[in-house]
Symmetry: none
Subunit: 231 residues, 2 copies
DNA sequence: AATAACTGTTAAGAAAAGTTAAACCCTGTG
DNA sequence: CACAGGGTTTAACTTTTCTTAACAGTTATT
């Protein structure tokens, strides 16, 4: 069972605020909209939230001040600032009060959602800190968090499953990646169909990786797969 | 006793640079801030560092160039790039110098710290992975990692079990490989059927190895097998 | 020489993996 | 709300790998 993520949204622009609130709630995030910083902080104290989205320029109390006060109560809650474009200093000041991310107006709602998701992921499992995000092997460069595989300066978009699998293989480069381990980490369940699904992804990765003969994705029967890089 | 991680930080934005330096030092990482690439490289040559954080766009010398020069001196030191958002081609060409990670501005300091920790953890654990895996005997070359047996430049793919067995035989070249030892290492169980299975693999290996008369796989009755290489 | 344990070899059968394509399932869009 | 497109899973079929069986030949032992 996963717990709900409740969002505190502070935004004085009624129009934008309502749109964001509607969008976030449609995506499954109960959202409370506050028209200024002061009310936002009062609301924060009264209710329980899991995430804060704060506009910086607001009447009564600006976003930074709200963030500082919130930080004194909860020093772990993720805070994302909404900032007008072209305000570098905002960014710097924001880091000092412990911002987790920034979004410069104008932005798409989808982008906001992605950031929120990313931050939640990050903050709820500190196990993910193990992830190195750039791997160089053979003639390839793999950027895990952009999900691209680069060969000869040519970018190839990867899907998330492809990326997850390739990342695990890279982390175990020249060593066997155990089937079961991979299945549990990526599919959270070691079952027949997931195993077959993984085999499909192995085939896909092999197609991407066949440009460089020094890179091989070989099978170790009954055990798993190994990304072999020679030279 | 754990050794200190000293960070070389190259960032031309004084404001940002100082904040990062202050933050990193507060977190226990002595940091030297350099205002441009040229000074960064000079500093690197003079001092001893364990980690590099390089802004890409800097006066005098950009981050990529610094990284290249640093790589010539130390090819293992972790390098993390700071990049302004929306510079695609810089990314593409940048990671071929062997970067370990990158962060797109704006980023949170927490995130930077997490990445640094992750990379350090990784490079510590990743220093002991190399097992010798290429065996030359007679006219054969056996690459265990790739599971191939090469004769006359012709590659012959081996199965996992064939490779495991041949590896043990190679490691005991001209010495007897004990049946029981091999069975326990490869099949994890010394039983009748596994023993018979192993005999089947001995037959297979003999077929592969019959091209060179100086290589023989002989049986030592009741004890095991021996890979005999004359000359 | 007879017997029993051990080894050599080949083939059949079962399990795992390779591959391709269709089905399914979201999510964004009109 | 239907539709399209992309990503993922399921299905179907093929090939490879490993084990087991069957039978033949060897070696040690009495």
């Amino acid at each position: 069972m996963k717990k709900e993520t409740r969002i505190l949204l502070a935004e004085d622009d009624k129009n934008l605020g309502n749109i964001l609130k509607a969008y976030l709630e449609a995506k499954g995030y109960p959202t409370v909209l506050c028209p200024n910083g002061k009310i936002a902080f009062e609301t924060f104290k009264r209710d329980k939230f899991d995430f804060c989205v704060l506009d910086i320029m607001m009447p009564e109390m600006d976003g930074f001040t709200v963030a500082e006060k919130i930080r004194k109560i909860d020093k772990d809650i993720p805070i994302l600032f909404l900032t007008a474009k072209g305000m570098q200093e905002d960014r710097i000041h924001g880091f000092e009060v412990g911002a987790d991310d920034y979004l410069t107006k104008p932005f798409s709602m989808e982008e906001l959602l992605l950031r929120i998701k990313a931050i939640m992921r990050r903050s709820e499992s500190n196990e993910k800190t193990n992830t190195k995000s750039v791997f160089n092997f053979g003639k390839y460069t793999f950027e895990y968090n952009r999900q691209v595989l680069i060969f000869n300066g040519k970018e190839n978009k990867l899907t998330s499953k492809e990326s997850e699998l390739l990342k695990l293989l890279c982390e175990n480069m020249n060593n066997v990646l155990d089937r079961t381990v991979a299945l549990n980490k990526i599919w959270f369940d070691d079952s027949y169909f997931n195993a077959r699904s993984m085999d499909v992804y192995v085939t896909k990765l092999r197609k991407y990786l066949k440009e460089d003969p020094n890179v091989e994705l070989i099978n170790v029967h009954g055990v798993g797969f190994k990304l072999v890089v020679t030279k």
